[in-house]
Amino acid sequence: MAPLAAQSRANRMKRIEEMSLWERLYFPEVIRGLTVTGYRFWRNLIVHTLHKLGLARKVQAAITVQYPDERAPYPDTFRGRHRLTLKDDGLVQCTACFLCATACPAECIYIEAGEYPDNPVEKYPIRYEIDTLRCIYCGFCVEACPCDAIRMDTGTHPGNLGFSRKDFVENKEVLMQRSRELAEKGKEGLYEEYVKPYRHV
């Protein structure tokens, strides 16, 4: 022990907050503390039991959320999994302009461009792949896109179930399917699908 530290401890130690007489009596304060803890304990226990029985759903038991049974709502700005938006006729909106792939700081987007046989104006992606293991979910691709073809508004987390690296590469079909599912089931439905594997682990 350094002598300086020892000295200063012995000489200069003092309490900032003065205790009142009631606090000095010690036992009333201990009982008060136990009341607070006990109240919380019994309240949580009872409310959780009621929840299990399907009662009193509106009363929140603790500040924590019973994930994955319940979940906290996500704001609209949440950057989730990508999707490729569709035109009215169901074709992909993307025109394979490579702006997202250029803006991507993680270089996770791979595009192979092709041309429609009947449309000399627009191109379309033959392959559009996002390697979600590389992706850092920064949202630059969404900002770069001039025709609103890629979005991250699905409200789901990146997938983390898979047995090989290939399982994490999301191709054009997967990304377009997500758009269709979002239109069909809405954000809530999509999230339901996402949590399902975790529910009965």
């Binding site: 022990m1 350094a2 300086l4 530290a5 020892a6 000295q7 200063s8 401890r9 200069r12 130690m13 003092k14 309490r15 900032i16 907050e17 500040i63 906290a72 996500y74 704001p75 700005t77 949440f78 950057r79 803006a103 991507c104 700081p105 993680a106 850092i136 979910y137 920064c138 949202g139 630059f140 900002e143 770069a144 991250m152």
Partner: protein
């Protein structure tokens, strides 16, 4: 010192023992290792072993575009990602002469101060946990959770924000979010007092920290300590006040310094207390910003192919762990020629070796916690 040499201490003969604290130790948040040579409970030497979290962020800077580097700066210090965002953007703007919109500046300050509260809450909460107080940690993280929700609303992510861009900010802060921030502040300010009753004024906590690991002013200067660690030694130095940037000159706030109120000036408690006071100061700044929040665009028009002229510059901000600086060199191309990051935790690490001589093993934990070193920031 020779490892096997017998050490005489208080009449007993004991051999000096070399033990390894970390990399997986509860008090070393992240991956941090100390090679500690002890004589029983007394430490003779504690050598920090850094490099476990080296991700070569600086080198990556040479390979991605100026815009594209912003998400990587998030990862430099994940507890205070907003500040690394801001300082890199400030450096790039300085180089290119880009003007930031006024609303953009306010958005930056609001986001940064929220982030500072979150970072300090982690710091004081885990500090309590290291010392042995479990409850304050939960209280601190409960409040931080609210801030994370706010951040998610502002910029779409909870930890790696990627919010501040060259020329302004990515997304505007909506009026609803402003209301929620005010609600949070109304709720949070009494919580700080509650936190003080719970932890700061706790006799056990004070006795554990008062007079432990005292840093003198000279040492603080010579080891280049920054931020709350420097202010804990009684030196009034805050980049926000002394080298003003952004809109800080228009805002009123105090710079809390250590006073040695329970022990010696510059002890662990002073460093802790400065952080608690900064929580309140940040609340004050946030309230002023929300009141003065101007209208207008949140981001200036910046070309997508951002090519600053040839040159070099250094920008610095006051991050929660002290003076954070980015030194960038441009060769006129789309990519930075060199990015160098200067962080507060790295210098704080270097003083641990000096301070740990002669203190107890348990006090080493208090010392690491009070310096608030953050492993990803040390190694980058």
């Amino acid at each position: 010192m020779n490892e096997t040499a017998p050490v005489q201490s208080q009449g007993f003969y004991a051999e000096e023992m070399t033990i390894s604290v970390g990399p997986q130790h509860p008090s070393t948040h992240g991956v941090l290792r100390f090679v500690v040579k002890t004589d029983g409970e007394v430490i003779n030497e504690a050598i920090p072993d850094v490099g476990y979290l080296h991700r070569s962020i600086e080198k990556i800077g040479e390979k991605v575009t100026w815009h594209g580097y912003v998400p990587y700066t998030d990862r430099a210090d994940y507890l205070a990602a907003m500040f690394a965002n801001q300082v890199f953007c400030m450096a790039a703007e300085k180089l290119a002469g880009t003007e930031v919109t006024r609303r953009g500046e306010f958005c930056r300050v609001i986001a940064c101060e929220l982030n500072r509260i979150a970072s300090h809450l982690i710091s004081v909460g885990t500090f309590g946990q290291d010392i042995g107080a479990m409850t304050p940690f939960v209280h601190a993280l409960r409040e931080r959770e609210t801030i994370n929700n706010l951040m998610e609303e502002i910029c779409g992510a909870r930890l790696t924000y990627n919010y501040i861009r060259i020329g302004g900010v990515g997304y505007d802060i909506l009026p609803e979010t402003c209301t929620r921030i005010t609600e949070f502040l109304d709720h949070f300010e009494p919580i700080v007092d509650e936190f003080n009753r719970l932890l700061s004024n706790n006799k056990i906590f004070i006795e554990r920290l008062a007079g432990v690991a005292v840093i003198s002013k000279e040492d603080a200067f010579s080891y280049n300590l920054v931020g709350p660690n420097l202010r804990g030694c009684g030196i009034k130095w805050d980049i926000r006040r002394d080298i003003p940037y952004s809109v800080y000159p228009e805002l009123e706030f105090e710079v809390p310094v250590g006073t040695g109120q329970v022990g010696t000036l510059g002890d662990s408690y002073d460093r802790y207390w400065v952080r608690i006071r900064e929580l309140q100061e940040s609340c004050k700044i946030l309230r002023q910003c929300l009141k003065m929040f101007p209208k207008g665009p949140a981001i200036a028009k910046v070309p997508r192919k951002f090519k600053p002229p040839v040159g070099e510059c250094y920008a610095r901000v006051e991050a929660p762990r002290g003076d954070m600086g980015f030194y960038v060199v441009s060769d006129g191309s789309e990519y930075p020629y060199r990015v160098r990051i200067r962080t507060g935790s790295f210098t704080a690490m270097s003083i641990i070796d000096k301070l740990s001589k002669g203190i107890m093993v348990a006090d080493l934990i208090a010392l690491i916690g009070s310096l608030d070193v953050d492993a990803p920031e040390i190694d980058r």
